[in-house]
Every structure is written in C-alpha cells, then in structure tokens.
Symmetry: C2
C-alpha cells in the first residue's frame, strides 16, 4: 500500500467491519496501522480493489488475510466517497459487514491476533465507544480515516436488521446445532439489552419454525448447570 497514490486518478478500497459475539458482548476487529497515513492509529482492515476483482472478492481476500481459514458472512454496508476521506489522494471505500462466529475463530490466528484486537462495541444514546479487554477506550474520533463513521453506520444497520432478517444466526458457531439460549445471547449482545427468554423463544419459533426453516433436533446440550437445552437447526 503506497503512502502516495496517483494524483490524477481515483482509487477504490474495501473496508471490513468484522463482528463477533464473545462472552455475551459484541466485538469488533480493529488493528493498528503499521504505516502512514495514520501510522499507529486504530483502523478497520482495508485493502484496495484490484483491476480483476469485484469489491466482494476483494473483501473476501482481505478477510482471508486478516483471519485465515474463516469463512464469514459478508454483506455490503455502504459506500463512503467523501473527497477528503484519505490524505493520500482520492479513495472511495466500499464497506462490508463481516459476521464470524467466535467459536470457529480461535484456530490458526495467533499471528494476526497480535496486531489486530477485538474491541467491545458500546453504543448508548448515539454515543459510540470501543473498549479493550485491557481497559483501553476509544471514541470514533480516535480512529483512522472516517472509520468511526463507518462503524457507527454498521452498528446501526445490524441493530435495525436483526429483527427482520436472519443475520443473528450468522454469529452461531454451528447453525445446525444450537440452543435458543445461545441465540438469545447473540441478540442481547447486538441490541445491548436484556431480553425475556420466554418471549424471545416464542418470537423465534413463530418466525422460523412454522415455515420449516428452523427445526428442533433430537439432541440436547449436556454442558451447563441448569436444565439441558433442546438443540435446533436453521437453514441459512
């Protein structure tokens, strides 16, 4: 990635908003930029779009670079085109939302985990904050480029879509074997709110079971202290 771009031409990049749910919290993957501009600043993973690839392909390649071996759910978020959003020159960014189940992640990502970190996203009353496990706290203005704005757009989008799409299921480690409790944890993390388990159960079963997309399996979850949970399977 050059520090100075061709002055007379327009460049296209993709940026990734990689989300997961861990320990009941919504987490975002960001890393420190190793080189100018904004060297040392926290930023979303980004990459230029090559001549022979679509933005979606570029986003998939970038994801593979950052978190090798993980296939995430990808969805185009928004395209940011402000003239001065990149000090190197004219760069527009097609931002993607990437959802990855935490349980599938851990495998061979030790290297990248050192330069990239997961921050908890908290948004209350229009104010967005990111916090580290180490207690480090960021506000949107601390991030490189317009990445604070991109994150804000993303969290708003996913909160808006979770009730009328199946995007919540994309956070599940195994969509073919999960308990409603796990799913509720995902919803609570995204909405940053407690839900009534009884009503949550009915809402999900109502929406998905009668159409046949969601089915109860004959298995139950052995682990845990309470009553074993019935396990379900969803067709995505």
């Amino acid at each position: 990635m050059p520090a100075q771009l061709q002055a007379d031409s327009l460049h296209v990049a993709v940026d990734l908003l990689i989300l997961t749910v861990r320990g009941g919290q919504l987490k975002l993957f960001i890393s420190r930029r190793p080189s100018p501009p904004y060297a040392g600043c926290w930023a979303l993973p980004g990459r230029f779009v090559g001549m022979d690839e679509s933005a979606e392909t570029a986003a998939n390649k970038l994801l593979e670079e950052m978190l090798p071996g993980n296939r995430a759910f990808l969805e185009q978020l928004y395209t940011f085109t402000d003239v001065n959003r990149d000090p190197r020159g004219r760069v527009i960014s097609v931002a993607y939302l990437a959802v990855i189940p935490w349980g599938r992640l851990q495998a061979g990502n030790k290297q990248k985990q050192e330069i990239g970190h997961w921050f908890r996203i908290i948004k209350k009353e229009r104010e967005l904050r990111l916090t580290n496990d180490s207690g480090m706290e960021l506000i949107p203005g601390d991030l490189a480029f317009d990445h604070g704005r991109i994150i804000d757009t993303g969290i708003t989008r996913i909160r808006g879509k979770i009730d009328y799409t199946d995007i919540g299921f994309r956070f599940l480690e195994n969509a073919h074997l999960f308990s409603l409790g796990e799913l509720q944890t995902v919803y609570e993390a995204i909405l940053d709110d407690k839900l009534d388990s009884s009503n949550f159960r009915r809402a999900i079963l109502n929406r998905y079971e009668k159409t046949g997309r969601l089915n109860q399996t004959d298995q139950t979850e052995k682990q845990g202290r309470g009553r074993p949970a019935a396990l379900y399977s969803i067709k995505l």
Copy 2:
C-alpha cells in the same frame, strides 16, 4: 464520455434510479444511450465521478443535467462492482435512488423529455417489467449494462422501506399541504396494491401524528367530486 477508458485504471460512476408517481403509477426515468457502448439501448442516467466531487455530489449534478431545476430526495442504493459490468473497462457504479414529485416536474424539462422517458414499473412474482405510455414493453435484460439488476434492487428496496421510513412522503408535491388520499395513492403505486383507506388513515396518523411530525392544517382540498379532504403537513 469516452468509448474506451484507460485500461489500467478503475473508474467510478453513479447511476440514478429516478422515481415518481403519476396517475397512480410508479414511474422510472430512463433514456436511450446516444453513443456506444449499448448505443440506442435504454439505460439509467449515469455519469462518472470526478476527482473533486463525492458520489453524492456527482449524483446531484447528474440529476440537474437530466431534469434541470428539480431538487430530488437522494439516497444511496447499492454499489455494483462486477468486473465485466462495463465493456469499456473497469467501472464500478454507485447507484442512487432519486425521488421526485411529479407535480413539481413539468416546468422546463421539454428538451430532456424527448430523449428520456418515463416507464411504468411493474413487478409481480419476481418478474420486472417496464411499460411505456406508447405500449412499449421492456424486460430487465433489454437494458444496458447491469441496469436491469439495479432497477430490481431499487424497487425491492423502496418497497421494503416504505412502511418504516418516511420515503413515501418524498413523492408528494407539497409535503406541507397534502391529503391522505394523495399519500395513499403514492403507497398504492409503490406497493402495486390497493389499500383500505380507513386502515391506511389510522396507520399514518398513529405513526406520525402523535410524535408531532404530522399535523392537520385548517385547510381543505376544494377540487374533486367527493367530500373535501383535510390537508396535512409533515416535517421531513
């Protein structure tokens, strides 16, 4: 607009999905391409994004070129980035939805009306069709580039958003003085379905009147054969 673009660089364009409601029908503005590629084909208005302008600015300029003197409501729709979507070279397109009230349109647009035309959009059971006042009929495959797909994305989007956003009001000639009947006509055109006026009335008033965004004025609509309608005003 050159017939051949720089081979080694990536270009960014905007395309406009200009919508209006006329005579109870949802209409889309498309025009015949005057030059290659796809010379003579029907296409959405498009334009390259300049070095010193955002995509939104480019979209606004394009709108001013096509329909001078009209300020439309603009909303980014989706970004299309397939590698082979333009035979001239690598062009990605940021598509915008533009909503314009028919009543505000007629003024000084005689020139452009000759090369551009309004087609009625009909989408039934996943099948999209465009029909002219002259009875000409188009299917998505008849359009230049991937414009058929862009139109399909747009009509799906606006139908999905109409019940939970205020985008329907953007079709009104005067958002500060309109009858619920006019608004219902807009909704029916977009959804391509008849609505019960009694229920429509309650739904709109429930959603907007109690928050103070929508207010009944002391004026009534004199024209028409039936009972005069109360006129309302919405804050957009």
